[in-house]
Symmetry: C2
Subunit: 202 residues, 2 copies
């Protein structure tokens, strides 16, 4: 296990967290479809019956992981966008934080980002709403910066998509051996995004 | 089937192409691990025994898909980087082409990019070499542009990684309903990358 159990500070009881952590490992190893509830329960040191106390199905475990990841992403982005400071300072913090999160938590982030098609339709709608709100927050911050002549980028929606895409894709290629470390990568990506937005520096 | 069979113009005979196309659909739907050779053969209208005439295993089908995709990516990037014109013109063409390819071929690109961990070690080495050569080509073009004062970006390796990452991640989120169309998206991403590299325009 490379993911600490405190990935989900809000999840109670600990058994549910252990099941979610075991599911992340199993989904990362074999994919959602090839993983059984027994695989997840066994990896968490529990019986399949004990899993069903917490989650009615494998799909429910995936949804818990995905919703939690998307809620944390939205909270992180919203907090950075709403912090004090000029638009460039806030955008840098947003990109640095989001990049570092995807590098540090690349295993869980891969499940969150790449198993969307395995969600049940009603679950997908919940997650899609969180994704739309995250993207809108980035778009609004770019638009604010353009209005304040802090950014000169022409196409706000495409830039917002590109920024999130750049941060998210870190989960695909980042490994514990990757250089630079997650914090430094975040800082360098913040520089690249500032240039991409045509940031006007005094 | 959304992927045309001519994804693999060099593959002979047609039965092998049909098997690769069926495998792309099956892997995209269920993941590599939950797909059986029988699933692939049946979807291609063949028997499992007929599959083994062309591929010794499911892993061999994955390798054929992955190697072909990575070879085409390398060829595309190398051709764009080596074309006539100044570094910015070549970089724009590289980014536009690579982005458009990932949008148009998002189903096969997802297999190529996200099932790397399912490759056998020797196969992975072949693919990893193609990936390193692709990344080096992008890095060299950035370095050439910096040396010619066409780009002002400070960190060439991180910029190369970010450019490829931006293009590749298109395969994750692009759907046939996405806007703008693949060609227009490529053009807009080329603009964003030009800004990211601090392109100096006369």
């Amino acid at each position: 296990m490379t993911e600490p159990v405190d990935l989900w500070p809000d999840v109670r009881p600990d058994a549910a967290k252990r099941l979610m952590a075991a599911a992340v490992e199993a989904f990362a190893e074999r994919g959602f479809h090839a993983t059984t509830t027994r695989d997840i329960a066994t990896a968490a040191g529990m019986s399949p019956a004990a899993l069903y106390v917490h989650f009615p199905s494998k799909a429910a475990v995936l949804f818990a992981i995905s919703r939690s990841g998307h809620e944390r992403a939205l909270n992180m982005v919203t907090a950075a966008a709403g912090a004090p400071g000029d638009p460039l300072t806030r955008m840098r913090a947003l990109v640095a934080g989001f990049t570092t999160w995807h590098a540090t938590r690349h295993r869980v982030a891969r499940i969150v980002q790449y198993e969307l098609h395995a969600l049940r339709p009603a679950d997908f709608e919940v997650v899609a709403d969180l994704r739309r709100r995250t993207e809108r927050t980035v778009r609004d911050l770019i638009a604010e910066g353009v209005a304040a002549s802090a950014f000169t980028v022409a196409d706000t929606p495409t830039a917002a998509r590109a920024i999130l895409s750049l941060c998210v894709d870190v989960a695909r290629w980042y490994t514990p051996e990757s250089k630079p470390d997650p914090t430094e990568l975040g800082a360098r990506y913040a520089d690249l995004v500032a240039a991409m937005l045509g940031a006007v520096t005094a």
